[in-house]
Symmetry: D3
Subunit: 237 residues, 6 copies
């Protein structure tokens, strides 16, 4: 029934290649099927003005898509002179989600910026960015630990994300683009490795859904998480 | 326990004054406690390019805050030269939510723009905008029906919104600003008059929540909805 | 002869409601007929760079119109990415006019920003902004006096404004929108309570006027001022 | 008493050199003392959307200052990414003023753009722009007449401008920069060759003025106009 | 003598992987040592306004760098709200260079956009973009030929680019970043497969160079070209 | 054969008028035939952040064209809200070129900004800007020397520029606009008074050129330089 032939509760193949670029303190290329996102982590010895002197660290994120990551070319945001509303929404979500897994006091007064750039898109780019972004963050934090710049690990519980939605009337796990563009209900679920919730966003376009359906999507998301966390761990061993 | 002395499941006083301004096809001033939002509806005989010729209508929204709607003055977005990320997120949510209650085919190829301008803010401005925006939309649609421009009512099920969150460890309904700024978990629930879900957004900042807590917040939201729909109906009789 | 049936030298009904919003140090909703402007005053302990260390204060203003304050919806300036030329002109005029009534030395090194937001427009929004803005300013200054932050009142002479023009060949007082859009000559007169002039702007579009007509408009403006100052005083008792 | 040694009612030396640049349909370099403005007129066979099909023409203006036209270098507006408020105010005034001398019906459905670029500034640049801009406009219109593109002259009455102000307590004609930066009251008077008024702007900064003083400034302006119109006529013979 | 241990006239290892992303009509990941650029080609059935109806095609380019392609993170241009001067210069150069190898009449009235996004930078990104961009262009054109949309190959002579400079007093081929940041003279040479010149840019920063040195750099560039053209051909067999 | 009747190796008449405007520390109006550029030099006691504390000075440039400097009116960059790609390219070139003739250590920690504004354009505006800009720079430096602010002359070797190109198959010196718009190959040559090279840019649009042709253009440029340097010297005696 799914265009890809996957089962309702079957995720796409997930892989994470670390060290894809060499300059960043952490870098990871995550592939969720045909969605490929390059995530890099940059450590800087400064924090935003609103926490200066607080002793707390900050994790933030920026998101972009290469113009031809998609089936038809999108205008380059730098050339348009601003980031679109969708981009702004997504990068705020990524930053907020990753911060939920971080003990900002243990991180100390420094900032880590996660850049998530979509090289190829096939649905679920924000979820892939969070899952891959966590890996880049982990690699950067490991450098700080190794160098003795911080003494206890500020990453308390891994963070990953998966989308679920109602496609052709059925709840399905990990929507790809053909499903996403048809799905009437679409959700993003950001969880931790221990199953705690960080962010849940369910949204209907041009229709509505029931509380039962909400629970079915939530069930699928919990199922998907275990696989993602396993891949994250393998990548950062 | 709540700063306002309200019970855990008690909403703020809600009122909606229609016709607050005279030029718009529909206008409503909604007050949820000290949060006051002026919502206006504008009908135009044009639709966005991507649905031209489809026979379908469009409902969209824009959101703004007067600079001194808040306790300290915020910079005017027009003077800054762009809408902030929070503004963009909110106005996309309002538009998406309202569209879920509209039969766009019955609306016909026209656009209704809902402007939501916060005159005074005390938490929950996006929810108030959706609830009040629906009333402005309803008034505008009534004009179209009365004028015979459309024959069947495109508003199939009223749309309203309420926030819930975990404040001081307790699930509470309809957060005001003192609660919102302290709450570790915060959710916006957009529902229809018949209890269907349109959008659910739950988000933790710097912590996490359990699935049980998610369900408690959902319960509170459902409870709050009936009061909102009653006020909406009274306003558009 | 006037669309509203008013006499040539008759102003619209004027009212000023103070405390319309609660956060600002001063707030006033002024209604000149169907023109409604919300004016708020914000006190900040900083001044622009060019007077830092001078011991002088500063009063400045910003102006905006809600998109549907007018008969057809105007694009939101924040969404357009800049303030239009008309907006810039108006807010510079408001700030300059209000400063003329202020002893900036008595105010001390602080800034008061007057935000004038037009909720509903029917001609004369810049004059209403000045007249209502003065009231918001007065309320804010009263707070400083009461708190002992300043010892002598820096507001030396009340400032108010009224428009006059030549409509259908006749000089008329306080143009409303139907008159304003037809008037060939249009003037804004900003005066003090003691009849001193602060700013006079008379402008013809597509025609010219004589010095006699200029004097007739000036006479009307002086007549209108007394009523405005009375309403201002009543509002700030 | 005046820094330049001029009498109270004495203008600076005025000269207008036509044909200063070769591409424009009309070009004039006006010098009012040390204020030098290059004015060019461009004819285009299109009009703004709001008068398309009306048979009427349009005259508009743009204004700029070279970064080092002034005593200290100003940032280049193109590099700042926008025109400042002062620039916008001035160019709107220039366009409005010139249009008052034009029979837009005789001009026909075409647009003439007057570019006023200040090469060197010493006060009164907006007045010089209007006076010089009229000459550039006249030269361009003469080309249309000569070519037979229009049959009757749309320039019905020459337009020129002069500033007056109260300097050291005295009303003076044609303020230069040292006077302008000290003057408490400052006015711009735009008149026609037959003495009709187009625009009068009088403005006090940090003080006020009386109706008598207003009339004294107006008298000075009328005196200054005759000289300007003579120079304009000589330049366009 | 060179930091990398390369001989004076030795290029870095060059490889080109085609089909790196799947949506674009042509895509290539070029690696010149540690400089990695993803080039994609997009075909669109429209041309810029200035050649509409001419029967000629257009090839253009856009260039970007991921924020952490470099050793320290650069601000994202989309977030800054504009493309920097360096970016604009480079993308104009890429487009101009590629067009020199194209028979725009044979291409027909369509546009091909080459996006060059630097994933990792180590000097010479503009040259790598041109060399890799040509491959993406070639793959896209091959699709048009195969589909019968065009009948004769518009790519008349392959285009590639290499940098040369004077490092530590010696002319060297293919500068990497450590060399580039120290080199007093730096040149980019864009040539065709048959040795014709398209663009030559030699530039000294803070010093000068002789005509002899210019010729030495030119000699090195010609030497480097043969290798690049060989790699291009192998990639597009 | 040339539209102007000039010989292949004949430059246009060149003149430089110093002191064209009075406020700048140095000002020069350069005319290369019908190309007229006003160059001014501004000295400021600050340097860009990246050299603060280095003891080195900085020379930078900005470039602009008046809207009607050209045959058809171009949109004003300040009104468009940004400098175009061509403008950015040119002003970077001017700054880089002038710096090559400056001993930045002898200049000391101050910045000189060269503004080049094209009053009338007929091809070769960037070359005229460099040649005239050098004169403005020289005049400003002379003031510093005379005032004793610097003790040794930081201008080590005069900098000038000329364009050459292949027009109608022939190499020609100093292209004017009719030639420039037809030339298939076009080069800018920036040299010093002693014949050293600073920057060489040769570019083909829609065709290619040989190394022999490159050398012919280089020969012409060297010939043209002597005349330019002579005019520069005469202007700054």
């Amino acid at each position: 029934m799914r265009p890809s032939g996957r089962k309702l509760d079957e995720m796409r193949a997930v892989s994470i290649e670390t060290g894809f670029t060499k300059h960043a303190e952490g870098s990871a290329l995550i592939k969720m099927g045909d969605t490929h996102v390059l995530c890099t982590a940059t450590i800087e010895d400064r924090v935003p003005p609103f926490i200066k002197g607080s002793g707390l660290g900050w994790v933030t994120a920026e998101y972009g898509m290469l113009p031809r990551a998609t089936n038809t070319r999108m205008r380059r945001e730098a050339a348009m002179g601003k980031q679109g509303g969708r981009t702004v929404e997504i990068q705020r979500l990524i930053g907020r989600s990753l911060r939920a897994g971080v003990d900002r006091s243990a991180l100390g007064e420094r900032q880590i910026t996660i850049d998530c750039d979509v090289l190829q898109a096939d649905g679920g780019t924000r979820c892939a960015s969070i899952t891959g972004g966590w890996v880049a963050l982990k690699l950067a934090v490991n450098k700080l630990l190794k160098a003795g710049d911080i003494v206890s690990d500020p990453l308390v519980d891994p963070v990953a994300a998966v989308s679920c939605g109602i496609y052709a009337g059925q709840p399905v796990l990990d929507l790809d683009y053909p499903e996403d563009s048809e799905a009437g209900v679409d959700g993003n679920f950001i969880l931790t490795g221990t199953g705690r919730l960080i962010e849940v966003q369910m949204s209907a376009e041009g229709q509505t859904f029931s509380r039962d359906q909400m629970n079915q999507l939530m069930d699928l998301a919990e199922k998907g998480m275990s696989e993602l966390v396993t891949v994250q761990k393998a990548a950062t061993l």
